[in-house]
Amino acid sequence: MAVPEFLQTAELLKQGAEARVYRAEFLGKPAIVKERFPKRYRHPTLDEKLTHRRTTQEVRSILRCRRAGICAPVVYFVDYTSHCIFLEEIIGSSTVRDHIASAQQSDSGTEQKLQQLAERVGQILARMHDEDVIHGDLTTSNMLLRHSQKDGEPELVLIDFGLSYISALPEDKGVDLYVLEKAFLSTHPNTEALFEKLLKSYAASSKKSSAVIKKLDEVRLRGRKRSMVG
């Protein structure tokens, strides 16, 4: 088994409940490796099946987004035996989370910049939902701003499609936005107006947005989980 030995020499960046993320050189390029490790608390057969499905879903969603012109990391290699995905490292990037936080610190003249950013996020999410990709874990930490050398405008790159799936249901898209709203407003205090801007731009860019926004209002009242009573 080559990959587990390789990961022992790689730099561990983060460990979550689902996977470990490493930084390493792959084929001479800076790369990020996402390893879904076995969960001992699950039945081995079920664990294997779930892990395999999430790995394939993740690469499928990334490709689907890229095909639609939405920036997401390039997939270099997938190992379905050790459940590792080798991805392009997004060089020279910062998270939208850090960007908003630092913009809020420096109070002068950043308001308009933030509004533009919120509008761009709304547009990109609209495009993603129009492709029927549900991200599943939208937070401002899972959006990167890549500062390219060419022009001043940084590119928005979506990452971590680990919980993503394909669905055309307004319900699923509504929940996707609801998850973002919760995460957004709790990580960034006093940004209700900013998030409102994001939703407005989402509604204006997506062809199917009215059903989604209607569902979002419903989800807000009941929470993320559907009530199974009655």
Partner: protein, 175 residues
């Protein structure tokens, strides 16, 4: 001229790429490759965007060989197959392998560090002029590549043609 890269996942294994122009014996080379007499993959360079594309295919081939899950009969045919966006083996050979009249050839060899003899064995067989492997980009036929990999115009927004091609190669088994 040769471009060599270690496969980080398989310590000891490395991939060397050698590009030839003005090749006069393509038919003979192809025949020897079919008979398995050449220890190398012979690739049509007009279908290559960048040497990284070959590395991705070679790494995947060595991986599949290690776990015993190759789709084709040899490591070198597997490299050619991995370049293709489809799961059709003969189609892959037709598009990415060399044809009898070709004038340029990319030769790819997977070898151990001390197996330099393998490389000179292959170069001796090619009747052509070797150029730096990095020059492959100047030979690539982007229009044909875009069509074969079905790269849409809007994908320009999120990266290069190389990015689009590599993504498809890496994920073709689950599409």
């Amino acid at each position: 001229m040769n471009l060599t890269q270690d496969l980080e996942l398989f310590p000891g294994h490395r991939v060397t790429q050698m590009l030839f122009k003005e090749v006069k014996n393509a038919a003979e080379l192809r025949q020897s490759a079919v008979e398995g007499k050449i220890s190398g993959a012979l690739i049509n360079p007009t279908m290559l965007v960048d040497p990284l594309q070959v590395l991705v295919a070679a790494n995947k081939a060595v991986h599949l060989q290690t776990i015993g899950k190759m789709k084709t009969r040899s490591l070198y045919s597997e490299i050619i197959f991995n370049l293709s966006p489809t799961n059709n083996i003969s189609e892959a050979f037709k598009r990415f392998g060399i044809s009898d009249g070709d004038e340029s050839v990319m030769v790819v060899v997977v070898h151990k560090k001390d197996e330099v003899q393998l490389l000179s064995d292959v170069t001796a067989r090619v009747d052509g002029r070797q150029v730096p492997a990095e020059d492959v980009s100047s030979l690539s036929d982007s229009a044909k590549i875009k069509k074969l990999y079905k790269v849409a115009p809007q994908e320009d927004k999120c990266g290069t043609l190389l990015d689009a091609v590599i993504c498809r190669m890496a994920t073709k088994d689950v599409m």
